[in-house]
Amino acid sequence: MTALMAGIGGPLAVVVAWLLIGLAGLLRPQSTRIVARVLFPLGAAGGVALMACAFPALSADPISVTLPLGLPDLPFHLRLDALSAFFLVLLGVASAGISIFSAGYFRDGEGTAPGLLCLQYHVFLASMALVLMANDAYGFMVAWETMALSSYFLVTTQHRIAEIRSAGFLYLLLAHVGAISILLSFGVLQGGQWQFAFDAMRQAQLSPTWASAAFFLALFGFGAKAGLVPLHVWLPEAHPAAPSPVSALMSGVMLKTALYGVLRVSFDLLHAQLWWWGAVALAAGLFTALFGVVFAAVQTDMKRLLAYSSIENIGIAFAAFGLAILFHCSGMPALAALALAAMLYHSLNHALFKSLLFLATGSVLHATHERSLGKLGGLIRRMPWVAWTALIGTFAIAGLPPLNGFVSEWLLLQSFLFTPQLPQPFANMMIPLGAAALALTAALAAYVMVKFYGVVFLGQHREPQLAEARDCSVLERVGLVWLSVGCVLLGLVPAWVLLQIDRVNVLLLGSGLELQGRSVWALVPMSSERAAYSPIVFLLGAVLVVGLTVFGVRRLYHGRVRRAPAWDCGYPLQTSRMQDTAEGFGQPIRHIFEPFFSMRRELPTPFDKAPRYRVEVLDRFWAALYLPIARAVLRVAALVGRLQHGRIGIYLLYSFVTLIALLVIVL
C-alpha cells in the first residue's frame, strides 16, 4: 500500500494542499494582501509540484488506490496512469503560470471577496485534478460537478452585473445538460452489472449498439464541456464574463478535462471502437474548427475572440481524435498513434498559448478598463512586457514555426497526408477534404491573430486614456513569461515531447509511434525520406541568416536613422480613427463567409445628422436551435403546469388515480 501511495500520493497531496490553501483564504476573507502575496503563490507552487510528481507517472505502471472516503459501500477509487499523468502535467504547467499571474492580478473591490475567490479558485483546481484521477463513475461525477459549480461561481465573480449572471446561468445549464449525458453514458457502460468502478466497466462486454450509445452520450456530454458545435454557445458568453485568470483556467485547462474524458471513455473504458465514430468525430471536429475560427475573425471583443478561437482549437483536437479512431479501427496503429499524439500535443499547446493570451487580455483590461477592440490600440509602447509575451502567444496560436502551435498542426497534417487506402471509401474521401479544411482553418487562425494583436497592441491609441496605460506587475510578468517560455520550449523539442506522449499512445492504443532516430533534435515520425522537422536547426539557420543580414546591412552600409511623422502618402490629417477597426479588419471574412452569420446592420443614410454604422453578428445556432428548444421547454412546462390547481382534493385524486393505475398494472 505504501509503495502504491508513493506514485499517487504526490498528486493527491497537491489536491489536499490546494483545498487547504482555499480554506485558508476564508480566515481573512477581505484581505487581498494575504490572498495575493501568500496563498496564490503557494497555489502556483502546488502547480509546479503537481507537474513534477505527475511527470514520472507517465512512464510508470498504472497505480490504483481506494480512498476511505465516499458513501457507504461506494468508496472513491483513484488511478494514476499515463493518460491521467499527461493531463495532470498539463494542469500543473498551466495552473502554475495562471496562479502566479493571479497573485498579481486580483485587486480590491472587484466583486467576490478575495478570500472567497481564493477558495473557489483552488477548489476548482483540486476538482480538476480529481476528475483526472477518478477511477469510478461516482467519484468522477462528484469531481466533475464540483468543477462545474466552482467554475460557475468564478465566472459570476462580478455577480452584480446582469449580463454576467445570465452568462453564468447559460454556462451552468449547458454544463448540466452535459453532465446528465455523461451520467447516462456511464449508465450504459456498466453493461448490466451495476458496478460503477471503471475497472468493472473495462471488463463489461457491450454490443456494438450499446457501445455506440455510450460513445455518443459521452461525446455529447464532454462535447458540451469542450464547446463542440452546436454546444459551444456558452463559451463566448462565459469567457468575457469571467475574470481573465479564470478564463485562462477554463479555456486552457478545463476544456482539456473534457478531452480527457472523451479519451478515457472511448479508448479505455470501451474495449472496441467502430470506424464510423471516428468519421463523425472528425466531421464534427472540423466543422467546429472552421466555425470557431470564422466567428473569431468577426468578433469585436477581445475575450470573445479568444473564446471562439478556443472553439476552433477544440475542434482541431476532436478532428485528430476522430482520425485516431478511424486509423485504429482500420488497422493502422502507427498512424493512429500519430493522430492521437497530435491531439495530445495540441491540447498541451493550447493550454499554454490560450492561457497566455487570456492573461494578456487581463492585463490589458486592468490597464485600460476596456475589452472592446474598437477602443484599444498602440499598447506595445505602453505595455511592452504584455505585448511581447502576447506576441509569442500570437505566433504560437497562429501555428507559425518554430513555435509549438506549428508542431501539432504539422503532426496532424502528416497523419492526414500519409493515410494509406482506408477500407471505407466514404472515409477515404473525407481525408483530403479534411486536410483542406484543416489547412484553411490554420490559415484563418493567422488572420484572426493578426487582427487580435494588431488592433490591441499596434497602431495608434484609439482612445486618449490609453496613453496612460501601465504595464503589468512583476508577478503578472512571471506568469506571462512562464507560459511563453513553455510555448517556445514545446516548439523547439518536439521529438522529446513526443517520446513522453508516446506512453499515452501505448496505454490507449496498445502500440506507439514509429519514431525514427530517438534524438531530441529532429522529429521524424515515419521515415526520414518521408518527412522530418527539426526546429532547433531550422531556428538556428534562420537566426544565422537574419544575423548576417543585420550585420551586412549595418556594417557594410550605415545605421543612420531619422525620426519623422508618419508619411501616409502625404495626407496631412492623420487620426487614430483612420485605422482599421476590428469590424473593418473582419469585413473580408464577413463578406466571404456570409452564409455562416446572421447579421443585423444599421447603415447610415446621406441625410443623417449623426451618421451611425453598427453591425451585429449573431450565431445562427442560437436562433435555429436554442430558442426553439427554450420555447418548447416553456410550452411543456405550461402543459405540466395545468396539473397544478392548488387544491388539496385534486392532488389527492391524482394520488388515488395513480395508485389504481399501478394496481391495475401490477395485478
Binding site: 490600440g377 498602440g378 506595445i380 509602447r381 501555428g399 507559425l400 514555426p401 506549428f406 504539422w410 497534417l413 502528416q414 497526408l417 500519409f418 487506402q421 477515404n428 474521401m429 483530403p432 477534404l433 483542406a436 489547412a439 484553411l440 490559415a443 493567422a446 488572420y447 491573430m449 493578426v450 494588431g454 499596434l458 497602431g459 495608434q460 529532429a522 525520406e529 518521408r530 518527412a531 522530418a532 522537422y533 527539426s534 536547426v537 531550422f538 539557420g541 534562420a542 537566426v543 541568416v545 537574419v546 543585420v550 536613422v561 531619422r562 525620426r563 519623422a564 511623422p565 508618419a566 508619411w567 501616409d568 502618402c569 492623420q574 485605422q579 482599421d580 473593418g584 479588419f585 473580408p588
Partner: protein, 316 residues
Amino acid sequence: MNAITVLTQLLSVLIGVALAPLFLGWVNQCRAWLSNRTAPSLLQPYRTIRKLLHKDAVIAEGASPLFRAVPYLLFGAMATAAAIVPSLSTALPFGKSADAIALVGLFATARVFIALAAMDIGTAFGTLGARREMMIGFLAEPALLMVVFTASLIVGSTELPVMAETLAGRAVAIYPSLAFAAVAFVMVLLAENARIPIDNPTTHLELTMIHEAMVLEYSARHLALIEWASALKLFNYACIGFALFLPWGLAPASAGAEGLLLAFGLLLLKLVVAGAGLALMETLSAKLRIFRAPEFLAMAFLLAVLGLLVRLLLRS
C-alpha cells in the same frame, strides 16, 4: 552530410539571393516589351537596392522595435526558404530540418510579420494593406499546401528535395492530379507575389494597393531589404514550381562541379522561360477588383483540392 553538400547548400542560398533581383529585372523587362515600352535595364532592381541602401532611413515617430526588425526578419525568412527549396541541387542538408509544410509555415510567418509591421504605425493605408494581405494569404496558403500535398501523395514524402528527385527520376508521365495542382500553383504564385491580376506591383494608386500599401512607411535600407525579400520570394516560388512540375535538371547529391554548372545553366533557362511566361500572363490579364480576389483564390484552392481528390480516386 559532408563538406561538399554544405558547400552546395551555401551556394544555393547565395545564388538565390544574388539571382532574385535579376529574375525580377527580367520579368519587368519582358513586361515593358510586351506593352511596347522601352525596357529598363536588366540590372535595374540591383541599382534600386543599392540606391536605397545608401540613403538615410526615415522612421515614423512612434514606430515600435517590431517595425524596425521586420525587414531583417523578412529577408532572413526568404533566404532561409531559399535554403529549403531546391533550386540548383537536391543535396540540401538544411532541407532535412524543414519540409514543405514548414516552408509554407515560413511563408506564413513572413506574411504575419509584414502585416503586423504594416499595422504598427497606425496609418489608414497600412492597416488596409495588412487586412488585404491577410485576406489573400488565408486563401492562398491552404491552396499552396494542397498543391504540395498533391505532389507529396504521388511521391510519399513532404520533403521538397526528395519530391523533386523522385518526380524527376520517373518516366515522363502526365499525372492528371499534377495538372490541376499546376494551374492552382500558378494562381497562388500570382496572388502571393503581388502580381496582376490580384495586385499590381507598379501601381501608384494607393486605394488599389495590397503589398505596396503595407510598405509605404518604409524607406532606405529597410525598404531595400523588403524589395529584395519580395524578389527572393518570387524566385523561391518559381523554384518550388520547377521542383514540383519541371523537376528535370537539378543536380543530384553525387554531382560534381560540372553537374552543378549544368544545373545552373538549366535553372537560368527555366527562369528565362518562366519569367517571359509570367510577363505574358500579366500583360494579358487585367487587374481584378479587390472583391473578386477571393473568388480567384477560392478557385485556386478548389482546383488544388480537386487535384488531391483526383489523385485519391485514380489510386483506388
